[in-house]
């Protein structure tokens, strides 16, 4: 049964409406009574920072989550969507950030897997034929016989879109589609979306890259902190308005303690000279990184997560190899040295997800504390561990930072906030000269966040150098002595916080170039 997706009339008819969608997860209100309209034949951008609730909203639409309250209406009729299968029956399709493709199967097989009316005996020729027809129409050329593992990321994305089209989806949701594309591939994608729109498809593009959608999207909805911040049509939208909607300055008081005036005299602790890394698959490759961190300074790294932050932290730690350039720690060449050596030289690392990245979940808290410096606590050549010494060191740091948590319970029983405290204590106990703090306060309650920041400042005041990666502009502006912005694996800007504004940084984070303007 060959059926080409029939072009719809290009009326701006409302296709789908989401009303009052509310969804909360433990500890966080992801969507707060959000209303969203999606029209036929439009490209609708869903814009916002990480954690704004965009993905959640669309996952509800795609049946991945169920909303706590709210309705979804298609062509005026209320529908229930309890699974992706339901969503597909309603002609809603979604392309996730990590593609849902099977590398070992061919393009045609991957697409066939999701076809709704696949016959029991596969007619490969017919499927290939359909793929070629649709791909030609929308310029999504791929070889149906190729194995997905051989395709580039851009081509894989084409397959994902073809999957939706051949499964007769009418609404196409794309989650951060340009994140993994090269600039020319981005152009190509937008051409494809344009031709799809002309044929009547409704397209929702989740993104944080404001500049991209400014010229392409028919309408832009901005979410912020789980709320609907506003919907602008293409005519109404401008960079300033969008940035204002995306990054409203918060008025929380952030007591952090005075920033001491430090002279940038001493030799840098960390130098990255022309460093490049090669990211696999969906990882971001870092390019042309020039960075210095001096003692007694906090260098903030701003940017939307997924633009190379994780890779940067891993690079300094030694988990990721430099394909080019050099890395110097404390004046010595440490390019491609092992993590063990890097740590031993005095580098501490506080990762964004302590449970999966820093902790042995089934071991006790106290045992975890010893893991980064087992050599220091081992006695009799390794035959025993001086646990009292571990305990003493930990308690000293706990007193200094005014944290406390139980020591003898399994690590994974701690709350997120306490886990982060635990990692902070561990890293601070070794009195590192260089600290990499990656999303230090993500997922923490206010109390824990304040305490964590204070710990960092204390370390800085004692002469440590800190690479502080964060998404929270407020936090970055308050704590950093210097600020850089990471976008698509490169440093998009570097300045002192007093020399810039949220606006400017926001622009750089979302990919637009802005003239560096001196503002009060």
């Amino acid at each position: 049964m060959i059926k080409n997706p029939a072009p719809m009339t290009a009326e701006k008819k409302q296709f789908l409406a989401m009303r009052g969608i509310t969804k909360s997860f433990p500890g966080v209100l992801a969507n707060d009574a959000i209303n969203l309209d999606i029209f036929n034949a439009e490209i609708h951008a869903l814009l916002g920072e990480n954690g704004a609730g965009k993905s959640t909203l669309m996952k509800i639409l795609y049946g991945f989550y169920r909303c706590d309250s709210g309705q979804i209406l298609i062509n005026g009729q209320q529908v229930t969507i309890h699974s992706p299968h339901d969503a597909r029956l309603h002609q809603i399709g979604m392309v996730f950030q990590d593609f849902n493709l099977i590398p070992a199967l061919s393009v045609a097989e991957n697409i066939a897997l999701f076809l709704p009316n696949l016959p029991a005996v596969l007619n490969i020729k017919e499927i290939n034929q359909r793929i070629l027809e649709v791909s030609k129409r929308y310029d999504l050329q791929v070889n149906p016989r190729a194995m997905v593992s051989q395709l580039s990321i851009g081509e894989q994305q084409k397959v994902e879109i073809l999957k939706l089209l051949l499964a007769e989806a009418h609404l196409l949701i794309l989650d951060e589609p340009t994140r993994v594309l090269a600039p020319h591939e981005v152009e190509a994608l937008f051409k494809v979306l344009d031709s799809l729109r002309k044929d009547g498809y409704a397209i929702v593009q989740i993104t944080h890259k404001m500049k991209e959608v400014l010229e392409r999207a028919d309408r832009i909805t901005v979410l912020r902190g789980g709320h609907l911040a506003g919907t602008l049509s293409q005519a109404e939208a401008s960079e300033e308005k969008l940035v204002a909607l995306m990054f409203e300055k918060k008025l929380t008081s952030l007591q952090v303690g005075h920033k001491t005036v430090t002279e940038k005299s001493s030799a840098p602790l960390l130098e990255l000279l022309g460093v490049e890394t090669h990211g696999e698959g969906a990882e971001t490759s870092l390019k042309a990184i020039e960075l210095e961190v001096h003692p007694g300074e906090i260098v903030g790294v701003a940017g939307v997560s997924g633009n190379g932050q994780k890779e940067l932290g891993d690079l300094v730690l030694g988990m990721v190899r430099c394909s080019r350039g050099r890395k110097l720690l404390f004046g010595k060449d440490f390019t491609n040295q092992s993590v063990q050596k890097v740590r031993r030289s005095g580098v501490g690392f506080i990762p964004e997800n302590p449970l999966t990245m820093a902790i042995a979940p089934f071991m006790s808290v106290l045992q975890n504390m010893a893991l980064t410096r087992t050599w220091r606590y081992s006695r009799a050549g390794g035959l025993s561990i001086d646990w009292p010494a571990v305990k003493a060191d930990v308690e000293k740091t706990m007193g200094r930072l005014e944290f406390s948590f139980p020591l003898y319970v399994p690590a994974r029983s701690l709350s997120g906030g306490n886990l982060q405290r635990m990692v902070i204590i561990r890293e601070m106990t070794q009195e590192p000269r260089l600290i990499i703090a990656s999303y230090l306060t993500r997922g923490l309650d206010v109390q824990s966040a304040i305490a964590a920041r204070q710990a960092l400042v204390q370390a800085r005041d004692n002469g440590a150098g800190i690479l502080f990666i964060s998404e929270d502009l407020e936090e970055l502006f308050t704590l950093s002595d210097r600020l850089i912005v990471l976008y698509a694996g490169t440093i998009a800007g570097s300045f002192k916080p007093e020399e810039t504004t949220f606006f400017e940084v926001g622009h750089l984070m979302t990919g637009s170039e802005v003239h560096h303007v001196q503002i009060n």
């Binding site: 990245m357 390794g382 399994p410």
Partner: protein, 351 residues
């Protein structure tokens, strides 16, 4: 597996749960025995009498009991050979092969240096046995650490290769004048001493000492700490500066060395000769026992005992009940099935 045991050893609150776990295991084993009784019934044998026979022949007499211990010895050691690598997340199903290689190396020592006194020869054979096993485990360990091949597949393949190498060595170089399937008998100096007039040999001491050392190392030493960290979260361990690749290779080799030692103990202490295909799936039994015991030394001792009772009792079944010895494998299998299936009737934590 090792995660369950982590929780057990360190939190007093959970120690009583350990008791509950023991009771649970007992019930599961009884259930398996029940099912096997049914099988016996179906094949026209009296289950109660059979069980009585098994128990009386094994636990009822001093000699019977000693035979159980003798059967237990290699199982203790091969189970440990699986337990140690499991702590860093390695799955060592290559015990069979490592066992054979250890036996072969030890036999080489026994035959070549037969004129040495026992106090020199035996330690030499121990070292050779461990070397053989370690070499055989190095291949899968190294390939795994460089990310090339899964250690399960490689060790399985090497399992099949090992007995053939033994065959080659026996037939080609070592076979006794009378028999081509085995070597000449070892000289007295190459035999591990036995105790109390039974067949219990020094291998028992090896096994128990190694288990104790294993327990101590994992609990108290720096290496045990780092190994547990790797087993708990390998990526985090790497980030924390623990040298992951080094541990993977070294631990796998030590596991192989232990299995090799089991091989040496069998040929030197039990058989006194290198026999073709002498391992009756000892390596796999070790895997199952380790798995049943959750990788815990005490559990290994207990489970080895239970399995040894079963296999030794099977001998009697063959003699008196006219059942082929192999049938006892059904009882063994039922025990394994019941534990694997973790029926919710026997509630407990999943590992």
């Amino acid at each position: 597996m090792s995660k369950l045991t982590e929780t057990f050893t360190h939190f007093p609150v959970v120690r009583q749960k350990a008791l509950q776990a023991a009771v649970r295991y007992l019930l599961m084993i009884l259930f398996a025995f029940l099912m096997f009784g049914l099988i016996l019934l179906i094949s026209g044998k009296d289950p109660l009498q059979s069980y009585k026979d098994i128990l009386s022949s094994t636990l009822g007499s001093a000699y019977g009991f000693s035979e159980v211990i003798v059967a237990m010895i290699p199982m203790l050691i091969t189970a440990l050979a699986v337990a140690l690598p499991s702590r860093v997340g390695l799955i060592n199903v290559g015990g069979e092969g490592q066992l054979y290689l250890g036996a072969a190396f030890a036999t080489f020592g026994a035959l070549t240096f037969s004129s040495l006194p026992a106090w020199l020869l035996l330690p030499l054979m121990v070292l050779l046995g461990m070397l053989g096993g370690a070499l055989w485990a190095f291949i899968p360990g190294y390939l795994k650490s460089i990310g090339l091949v899964n250690e399960t597949i490689t060790s399985l393949l090497l399992n099949s290769v090992a007995p053939k190498i033994i065959g080659f060595l026996i037939f080609g170089f070592w076979h006794s004048p009378m028999d081509t399937v085995k070597t000449a008998n070892f000289v007295a100096a190459a035999r591990l001493p036995t105790f109390f007039g039974t067949r219990i040999h020094l291998g028992l001491v090896f096994g128990l000492v190694l288990l104790l050392v294993f327990w101590l190392v994992m609990k108290y030493t720096r290496w045990g700490l780092e190994m547990r960290a790797i087993g708990s979260n390998p990526q985090a361990a790497r980030r924390n500066g623990i040298p992951l690749s080094k541990y993977l290779v070294i631990v796998m080799c030590i596991g192989g060395a232990i299995a090799g030692l089991a091989g040496m103990a069998q040929v030197s202490g039990f058989y006194g000769v290198l026999l073709l295909n002498f391992s009756m799936s000892l390596g796999f039994m070790g895997f199952m026992i380790c798995w049943l015991a959750g990788g815990e030394p005490l559990g290994i001792v207990l489970m080895s005992f239970v399995v040894a009772v079963i296999t030794t009792g099977g001998n009697l079944l063959q003699l008196t009940r006219d059942l082929p010895y192999a049938v006892i494998n059904i009882l063994l299998a039922f025990t394994l099935f019941v534990v694997l299936a973790r029926p919710t009737f026997f509630k407990g934590t999943k590992s």
